[in-house]
Amino acid sequence: MRPIATTRSASGTPTGRLAVWWVIASEIVIFGGLLASYIMFRLSHPEWAEYASHTNTWIGAFNTFVLLTSSLSAVLAHQAAEAGNGKKAAKLLYWTMLGGITFAVVKGFEWNMEISHGFTISSNGFWSFYYTAAGLHALHVIAGVVIMGIVAQTAKQNLELHRVELIGIYWHFVDLVWIFLFPLLYIAK
């Protein structure tokens, strides 16, 4: 039996969604602090532009495409869940998960290639930020995929359909972070 506390909604926003917004608020300052530090260093070290020129824009762009597309399937899953179609929502969530896994695999090959060319996390400040920021983001991607798997499992049985929207919001946020990481780490050279 759920506590009655979980059924109330004095603010008008459902509790689950409210909590996700607070999670995102606290994530904004985590990534914000890291990226603010990176931008300060980047602006005061013109030589980092040279280091950055070794990143592969095409791989970054491909991963951006993958994440943007997975965001589309996440929002379509939300739409299906709202219409009460748990099966369809679950299927779209699986597509989203596939996007997340593709992202992580591509990232793995990309890092492998860069490390084999001698660009490691301790090479210099730029590469330290490159691996730390993208790594922290990749952890969020992986966590999102795992949670999405759990949500899809219940959604398939038409249970807890509101969770589809919650994981979707989180997924769009992960997408949003990448939208900023992409120009910061790949395009600005």
Partner: protein, 109 residues
């Protein structure tokens, strides 16, 4: 949020991909100002599209938008307070050593 009409998500996705192509193409003109605009200006537009349409901030309660904006403002504040020190390369009694030696050591391919 079942009351609101769903926007055409495919259309927004198509817009996002167009913007992505522009931001990849921008640096090819090799004009720094254009690169800055196509990289970061477009990132902001993309972020706006995702936040507004995919995260449904357009139909969410206003205080959520204010909350998230406040967090971003705090980060700008942090940047404003820290950058004058961190970006300063030389003080009266100290300097940060340049690390060109290491730059030279970075392998090229």
């Amino acid at each position: 949020m079942s009351e609101h009409a769903h926007p055409n998500y495919f259309k927004i996705w198509a817009w996002l991909l167009v913007l992505l192509s522009i931001s990849v193409a921008g640096p090819m003109l090799e004009i720094p100002v254009v690169t800055l605009i196509t990289a970061f200006g477009i990132a902001i537009v993309k972020a706006y599209l995702v936040a507004r349409n995919f995260m449904h901030l357009n139909v969410e309660k206003k205080y959520v938008v204010y909350l998230l904006t406040t967090m971003v403002v705090f980060m700008l504040l942090f940047f404003a307070g820290a950058a004058p020190d961190v970006m300063n390369q030389e003080g009266d009694q100290w300097y940060k050593p340049k690390v060109e030696a290491e730059a030279a050591a970075t392998p090229h391919h």
